[in-house]
Symmetry: C2
DNA sequence: CTTTATGCAAAGTCTTTGCAATACG
DNA sequence: CGTATTGCAAAGACTTTGCATAAAG
């Protein structure tokens, strides 16, 4: 690995803890399918994928896995806090490998999600959560449309 | 009408322009169903409803209307800019009668949407839209969970 | 009258579930 | 070996569509 790759130290450090161990720590048996899906999810940095997209990637990577298993696995990963669901309008559910507070562009008409460079947005005056509730997450989605003319 | 009702001057002013006219201005024929649905949507101030909820309200209000028509109508209203789609995770699509930039609480596990009192949130440092794109809308969804203990 | 809207039922998506076969520890 | 997981196909939820009937202008 070249020195210039050290910018990804965070990702590398995560990789140090093997996927198997991470899964086991969540109480999930490290099966072939779960390992493969986790590899696809976490190997390439932050991603936001639909079930269908991840399923296709798995098939292309010669990891036979059923669609139902991808659904199950993504929900298990979500419960385990490894990924989170992305709140975007529309039919599809996106899963995001970045579980920290960050935000997204959503391109209308194209159903495409883009990351907003981190920390670009400052949110002030967050309201209090109602009684008995606490804030789990703040989602900012900036909906984009194609400029006419 | 009592004087104390004047606090709803905004809503009243909107009501001055009859629903029929508003619909016609959008190129929508003011049919019995569309008028009734618009009445339900706009008579009570800002609302966020699912198709199913609006359908039930219509039935309860003795306005026989089919579910398909509610779907069609809400999408027509959305295209016309009378309402907008609310970007919240999950199976259901919410339609919001408030088309201006404002934000929402979403109660996890209960699929409940609450308005955040207007102007409570300040967003700074909005990123530039990518080339050829413009910002259509900024959505902030604050996801709430029940506090434990 | 002509055009547009409605309602129904059928078809389409996306997602979940039940259960036998399989893999993990 | 016993238990958890997978895959399949069937079922389920939500939404859209096609077409005959009805309503609006």
């Amino acid at each position: 690995m070249s020195q210039t790759d050290m910018g990804r130290a965070g990702a590398m450090a995560e990789a140090m803890i093997s996927i198997e161990t991470r899964l086991r720590d969540c109480g999930l048996r490290p099966t072939r399918q779960r390992i493969a899906l986790a590899d696809l999810l976490f190997a390439k940095g932050d991603r936001h994928l639909t079930v269908e997209e991840l399923h296709e990637e798995a098939i292309e990577a010669d990891v036979p896995v059923s669609l139902a298993t991808v659904y199950n696995t993504l929900h298990q990963f979500t419960e385990a806090g490894l990924i989170r669901v992305l709140a975007v309008e529309g039919a599809r559910t996106y899963f995001d490998t970045n579980t920290s507070d960050h935000h997204h562009f959503f391109v209308e008409g194209r159903n495409e999600v883009l990351d907003i460079p981190v920390n670009n947005i400052a949110i002030g005056n967050l309201p209090e959560a109602p009684d008995g509730m606490e804030i789990a997450h703040v989602d900012v989605v900036i909906r984009l449309r194609e400029k006419k003319g």
